[in-house]
Amino acid sequence: MTTRIVEVRAGVLRKNDELARALRTRFEEAGVFVVNLVSSPGTGKTELLQRTLTELRESGQRAAALVGDLETDNDAQRLATSGVPVRQINTHGRCHLEAEMISQHLDSWDLASLDYLFIENVGNLVCPASYDLGEALRVALLSVTEGEDKPLKYPTIFNSADSAVITKVDLAEACEFDRERAIAAIRSVRPGMPVLEVSAKRGTGMAAWLADLEARRLAWRQGRPGGAST
């Protein structure tokens, strides 16, 4: 017997990363802008998404959504009221969505006919950070009810996001929410992070959120390989 040390250098999440890359290519070819929403449970992902899907549909945009939860299809039912195609992904105990679950739930959807595909991740501020789903945009949500310092406690996920949305601003006063402190916390873990503020219940900030999404989608369409012409 001889003992020796051999280099391996293999990413632990290699399989997910490879699948996510394949998905990203597929989304780019189809021209569908994919948005992954991450937050704690109860931050308001479903509420924001329901309103977003409804308003997009009313303005003639074509959207669809995948929603991840450990169990139940309650969120898919809520989202389906918007009138756009929605599918539930039950992870049965898994605390995050993985690229493979996404590809398994795209069957028979004509991606090329969509402008937007939203993915509501499982409510969890830890694990979804590590799993690329092939999205073009990752948005981290923080509600005014959960404490301004959440980003400092969960830096990995806020750092991994492209933009942040503060939700439930209609409750800000009742919670004595310190807006400056929350934005400073977000930017402390991701310098320069764009921050939007919304109340999906009241509609506050919805126009700015939708305008930001559309601007990002158009910029992405210009930038993707083969780009603007298709």
């Binding site: 001889t2 051999v6 391996v8 990413g11 605390c95 694990c127 750092n159 402390s188 310098p191």
Partner: protein, 115 residues
């Protein structure tokens, strides 16, 4: 917590490599874990012992190599190590510094095997 998932991935990768190398036994798995990887090494050690049972890795030890969080400071024009993972400001000059150069790794670096 997804440490058990991660441990299973680690075991799969390590078994694959060990078999390719014709190893009879794996003594140690050296794993790089970036400070911003979002992984709890304590939970990972526990999960590793569970995931290695009844595999070629049974009895193997997991050695975690901590990878510091390193960012580029556009003011100092150099890479700097951040002492905290939630405070992306250059410790030398205070400038916000978000361009990560190191610290997200989650990688099986090497194996100590017996052949």
């Amino acid at each position: 917590m997804h440490e058990l998932d991660l441990a299973r991935n680690i075991v799969e990768l390590a078994v694959e490599a060990a078999e390719r190398l014709g190893a009879a036994k794996v003594n140690v798995v050296h794993l790089k874990v970036g400070r911003l990887a979002g992984v709890d090494p304590g939970a990972l050690h526990f999960a590793f012992d569970v995931a290695t049972a009844d595999t070629l890795l049974a009895g193997a030890r997991l050695e975690v190599i901590d990878v510091p969080l390193v960012v580029w400071c556009a003011h100092c024009l150099t890479e700097v190590e951040l002492p905290q993972v939630n405070h992306f400001y250059c410790p030398a000059c205070g400038t916000a510094a978000g361009e990560i150069r190191q610290g997200r790794e989650l990688e099986v670096a090497s194996l100590e095997i017996e052949t």
